[in-house]
Symmetry: C2
Subunit: 430 residues, 2 copies
Amino acid sequence: MSQLSPLRLGIAGLGTVGTGVVKIVRQQAALLSARAGRDVVITAVSARDQSRERGVSLSGYAWESDPVALAKRDDVDVFVELIGGDSGPAKDAVEAALASGKDVVSANKALLAHHGQALAEMAEIAGHVIRFEAAVAGGIPVIKSLLEGLAGNEITRVMGVMNGTCNYILTNMEKSGRGYNALFDECAELGYLEADPNLDVGGIDAGHKLALLASIAFGTQVDFDAVELEGIQRIELQDIKHAADMGFKIKLLGVTQMTGRGLEQRMTPCLVPDTSPLGQLDGGTNMVVIEGNQVEQIVLRGPGAGMGPTASAVMGDIMDIARGNRVPTFGVPAAKLVKATPAMAASTAPFYLRVGLMDKPGAMAKIATILGDAGISIDRMRQLGHVDESAPVLIVTHKCMRQSLDHALEAMSKTDVLTTAPVALRIENL
Amino acid sequence: MSQLSPLRLGIAGLGTVGTGVVKIVRQQAALLSARAGRDVVITAVSARDQSRERGVSLSGYAWESDPVALAKRDDVDVFVELIGGDSGPAKDAVEAALASGKDVVSANKALLAHHGQALAEMAEIAGHVIRFEAAVAGGIPVIKSLLEGLAGNEITRVMGVMNGTCNYILTNMEKSGRGYNALFDECAELGYLEADPNLDVGGIDAGHKLALLASIAFGTQVDFDAVELEGIQRIELQDIKHAADMGFKIKLLGVTQMTGRGLEQRMTPCLVPDTSPLGQLDGGTNMVVIEGNQVEQIVLRGPGAGMGPTASAVMGDIMDIARGNRVPTFGVPAAKLVKATPAMAASTAPFYLRVGLMDKPGAMAKIATILGDAGISIDRMRQLGHVDESAPVLIVTHKCMRQSLDHALEAMSKTDVLTTAPVALRIENL
């Protein structure tokens, strides 16, 4: 093993994660070499700003201002894409790397969620691999667990809390009693939000991750467009309090499972039991739950972001390539990944509803009638006192289909008794 | 990939786990083939009793009554050792398999904890691999996570609850209010105990697992004899109650870390905060916590035993071999694994002490004096009412070295004021 040539990395993108990877390669060279059976070295790097102080020396590395040029260099074996974005330079550079005979390691969930199938096919034809552990749940080796450790299982369900910012907001709303907007502003100040905050609070970032896990779990082509997405922007303190009264926490929860009607993928705020592992997950930590026909249930928990944890995941992929471990991008050859029929919320569940009702006679009756007409029966219902002509009504339904509920919500919106659009949250009894 | 020849398994040992593996290979053949890029087949099996009904067909497999003969067969690529035991047929057959050019997959923690270094060296010289995911924490892909996913980390600490039977007894003592002996008998009836129950309740089985994780984490030769071992047999209901009053649970906790004085490995009953992930772990579930300089902390949780979960781990190893993933047994070449200096309990901690005191003047003073003389200061102390001339005294110490405490306990045993040997449990503030 020790006579193998060094593995040469070209790193594109020297933000937090890229800098973290450079630090590991420089500071832990002996450890990496012992474990890989060969040296792991950086030959060239690329970023937008060469002069920026990054707290780590880049001496000895060639500088490329164009990541595509970096991807094509003859002295690079593995192209490490830490640029981000689902198109533009990241995509161009990854394609250039595969076309010019490199393996690729990427932390880019948006790129893979949108172009994973095409890139996997391209890698396969070229005889190269794409690895992306850092794209899902930060430092948690969840892709490796699903793709390799649990390869003897028919996977039945994957669930997870995979956006630390959303979980930070939701858990701190409960702990501090401050509202969504205050916590959102705090996250902005702390640098916890993406440049486009809707990626976080709109559930898009977490939806990207879920789509990648679904592909590996079920051998299907990545289909981010089929993910049922809902953000946390409309969650109010009173929702969190009422959920707590019933023994639940509100989490932005991803769930994917193969049903008789097709592939279910959803990333939506849900009520989960406060005693469940997912319910107990506080702050910015991520958790992924994998269920398989043999293993029953595995729960993986760890930091979902940050320099060290994300760089750790990138290095895990690099070390696999250094050791000669080569697995198809999504676990089976790209040509064999099947196109799944999307099944929007195919499974029934009870729902928590909050409806702002006008203070006039017959208002409550209208709402109850609409639910009854939609075939939805009410488990519990409670009307709170009026504030400014509006009274919140809280309803917990018996199990129903999301579609039936959506029809009922639409019918409610056509009445003249609502003061605000209703909030409907699925209750997951894990 | 699809033109690769089938991977041929020889399975020795057809108990629960072996039967589970046969079922997966027979019932999920298409899935395994798609993921591995080649067929995975069984060519021969071996067990003590050929006539036993196992609920799965063995037709088409050659039968060998001698596992060594199975290990030497020309039509076997991977020898799957599910016999158990740290010597005898399991060891003979694994050695024969390596000597005759086979890779080995084993679920045998005792064998690897006692002979891991010698076997790893033998495998390396032969150019073959030994994989043993199923030997540690059942279905949880903990070895894969540590060995591969976190290969970019300097591992700082590994902790875990890794014996489901002990955790079942301890959590059910608290829930049901029944004593240790009643729960032990229940476990015997339920088939939760090893043939030699001391392997479970004496902490030996969990100690084997800890020694294997320590080797991978720190690049050291497996050294089970250096594990500080203590069982759960002396834990009483009152210990569990007093721990609960202080906000702790009692767990059989494994901890290994590299300290300035050497490698610390201990598997002992400890008090852990009841709000920590380890404290919240109920019943037969296992949990492993891995801390690294980059990843911070990863928590892995899942079933520690049972047919499906253990067979899942065995299949994960088989699938790696089928895919050509080959990593040294303990993560670095066997010849590079270093002999660590054992550091028995090198780190200080507060301790919980329960001392049975005779009902005579000056008894309490003697105990307090002995602790003071050993340099151990008392944080809290409480004497309960006398029962049959004996009064339990509960003491929580400030941080001290285990060695100092052991000296004090020895001094106490030489007095004439004790009614029972003291119980001393480390308090881990995770």
